[in-house]
């Protein structure tokens, strides 16, 4: 016999994500899902951001990687509570992985929880974790064609941080095209051009982040 179902395939993940969202809302913590390709500079952006806001905001971090704990050690060195999730092969974090580590973080004491997703421009955008906002990081060495090649990530993100702009003189990249395509895909996206190496542009990013979370 035929069964009419009409169920979203990711319904199980979305239910857990809703549960996470409620926990975060009850604890009064703003949760940000940070996504990019491998090597775009998510962890460095996070380090530089934490250094600039930690006097005003209590930050916690969940690091997602396929293997290893290098990123968690870098965050731990800043004396910020951090948990490392190793997905063991999965190319993205899902809501259940987040739910399973929440007891390891002092959620109730935090103002901001950053979830650094697995480096990947495709899959993380599909899986809700319970975050309030997604932020995409794109480094200019990746090329200006990325927003149109990986549209979902840019459509889902509230902000786009364009990193490594100190390298602009050495590259043929068209940063204006990145901006134009990202805005076409998502008219409300906020865009910041930064260099985590020189510090250029980080003040504007940090100021916006603070007004968003507080």
């Amino acid at each position: 016999m035929k069964l009419k179902v009409t169920t979203n395939i990711l319904t199980a993940n979305e239910k857990i994500a809703e549960g996470n969202q409620k926990i975060f809302a009850d604890a009064g913590v703003f949760v940000l899902n940070l996504m990019s390709s491998p090597g775009a500079g998510k962890t460095t952006l996070l380090e530089e951001t934490i250094k600039r806001i930690r006097d005003r905001v209590k930050v916690g971090v969940i690091e997602g990687d396929i293997a290893g704990e290098d990123d968690a050690l870098r965050i731990d060195a800043l004396n910020v509570p951090v948990v490392q999730i190793n997905t063991g092969g999965a190319c993205h974090l899902d809501a259940n992985m987040i739910s399973s580590v929440l007891d390891d973080l002092p959620i109730g004491d935090l103002d901001l929880l950053v979830i650094e997703n697995v480096g990947n421009l495709v899959c993380p955008a599909e899986f809700k974790l319970g975050e309030q906002m997604k932020v995409a990081v794109l480094s200019i060495t990746e090329g200006h064609d990325k927003p149109l090649k990986y549209p979902v990530m840019f459509q889902e993100s509230g902000a786009l941080v364009i990193n490594k702009i100190d390298l602009k003189p050495f590259l043929d990249v068209d940063v204006e095209k990145i901006r134009r395509d990202a805005v076409s895909l998502n008219p409300s996206i906020r865009i910041f051009e930064v260099s985590c190496k020189t510090g250029e542009g980080l003040d504007a990013w940090v100021a916006w982040l603070l007004t968003t979370i507080l």
């Binding site: 069964l3 009409t6 319904t11 993940n13 990947n120 979902v152």
Partner: protein, 114 residues
């Protein structure tokens, strides 16, 4: 690569629905996959076929229906459909005030059970 997780979720949802209806075997599943969903049908099919083996869906055929990306322009009032996986502007008037009406689906539509 996330097609593996999606196939896993798909199997969970399908098996639950089959059991709840009092049946014990799934023979086919029809899914709607939007062209802008970020899922590759071939990869989903491959993942589904390799994961169904030890389940009540082991003989199930996965029927993937691709849903085109469609929208309505709020500036010129026309409906449109695009071939791409994304839409940047209304194809008729170039307007940016449009609403996407389909193309992001990841849905199980119906299944045959015994």
């Amino acid at each position: 690569m996330h097609e593996v997780s999606i196939a896993e979720s798909l199997l969970d949802v399908a098996v639950d629905n089959c059991r709840q209806s009092g049946h014990t075997k799934i023979t086919s599943i029809q899914v709607l996959i939007g062209k802008a969903s970020g899922v590759m049908p071939e990869a989903l099919l491959f993942a589904f076929d390799s994961m169904k083996e030890d389940t009540i869906a082991k003989d199930a055929v996965l029927d993937i229906v691709e849903v085109p990306l469609r929208g309505h322009c709020n500036e010129c009032g026309k409906d449109f459909e695009v071939e791409d996986r994304y839409v940047l502007a209304c194809p008729s008037c170039g307007g940016l005030q449009y609403t996407v009406s389909s193309g992001r689906e990841l849905t199980i539509a119906e299944m045959e059970v015994e």
